[in-house]
Amino acid sequence: MSAEIESVVGRYMHLRLGARPCRVYFEEAGKGIPLVCLHTAGSDTRQYRHLMVDPEVTEHYRVLAFDLPWHGKSTPPPGWHEEEYRLTTEAYIEAIMAFCRALDLEKPVVMGCSMGGRIILPLAAQHGKELRAVIGLESAYQVQPWFDNTWLHHPDVHGGEIAAARVSGLIAPQSPEETRWDTLWGYMQSGPGVFKGDLYFYFQRAESEFLNYLAHIDTKVCPVYLLTGEYDYSCTPEDTRQTGARIAGAEITIMKEMGHFPMSENPVAFRRYILPVLEKIRAPQKTG
């Protein structure tokens, strides 16, 4: 065999989410501590393709990523054609925990980006004891709206083209052309209204609810790492700092020359930031 074949393996599982059957696609690579990766709004697991083939990661971690229903290769549940898709905090947490339980993952690390970076906050508050740590990339408990998202699902506008054009400025100018466009290609492919429905969760004004989550995170039980790119003008470094300041013990890193999609827009630069975090998480936990 002459072709290079990656060690990433993709499979489907059947979950009941929101009392409905869902066929969920997931990928994994590596052995060790489970590391569950959550894709951004309107995209899918392909964003983690570089992390999954990084031997320095897969030597110690079993890296897993699943497509949320409506995304990537996970189909929407039956009846989707009669409803407007809107992601909620509850539905998102249900999906993450159902995925972890279905695979009997023992104290997984959960890492999410953007909306995935936001969900790890209530996740750590509600399920911190079941997790080893959470990592929020481009994570904030509240981000400021700046675009009329009605256009993302509108008959006068091409859904794929607008999704990519809306986010392309969030990528750092230093990120390589190939991975920049690979990232945008993912955005061009989401189904009608999916990006908009994800952003319903991401921009939802629920400050008191989220402040309450932050107050209930115990970083001694579930350490919290927040990493944000300096070029991310949607979830700004300041948004992340304000979030981290409200979680006692949270570690914050601002990534230079990086935008909103670190693992996907510039995987080489991202390793420099994520490998030390992963090393810290797998180090024997101190007692007392």
Binding site: V157, Q174, Y233
Partner: protein, 124 residues
């Protein structure tokens, strides 16, 4: 001369960029500080660009920002917050007004043409 005045040659000299705007025919306004420019696009090609002031001249949409904000957008490697016009808008420095449908439907093309003056200083 303002860098924006190079817009017609920057856009029309880039065949792929013109191709991306092939379904767009529109008149729109660019305001750089106190100077306004009326840009006429036909099938992705800039057919005219006039400098104001204008009296009773219609346009479909307008993109306005202070001169300093445009200069930051046009730096060869823009600083954080100035990678595209939407970022400048989020900062509260740029305003986008009028009938947004042709702008949104061609957002990649519009963002790219507005960023072309970057190329004058070796950016892309």
């Amino acid at each position: 001369m303002n860098m924006i005045e190079k817009l017609p040659e920057l856009v029309n000299g880039d065949e792929r960029l013109v191709w991306r705007g092939r379904f767009l025919t529109v008149d729109f306004l660019i305001q750089v500080g106190d100077d306004s420019y009326l840009v006429s696009i036909q099938s992705g090609r800039i057919t005219s660009m006039e400098r104001g002031p204008f009296y009773m001249r219609p346009w479909r949409f307008a993109v306005r920002a202070p001169a300093e904000s445009w200069e930051k957008l046009w730096e060869p490697v823009p600083r954080p917050g100035y990678t595209d016009i939407l970022g400048v808008m989020k900062r509260g420095e740029a305003r986008i007004e009028g009938d947004l449908q042709p702008l949104i439907a061609n957002l990649r093309y519009i963002k790219e043409i507005l960023a072309t003056p970057r190329r004058l200083k070796g950016g892309r």
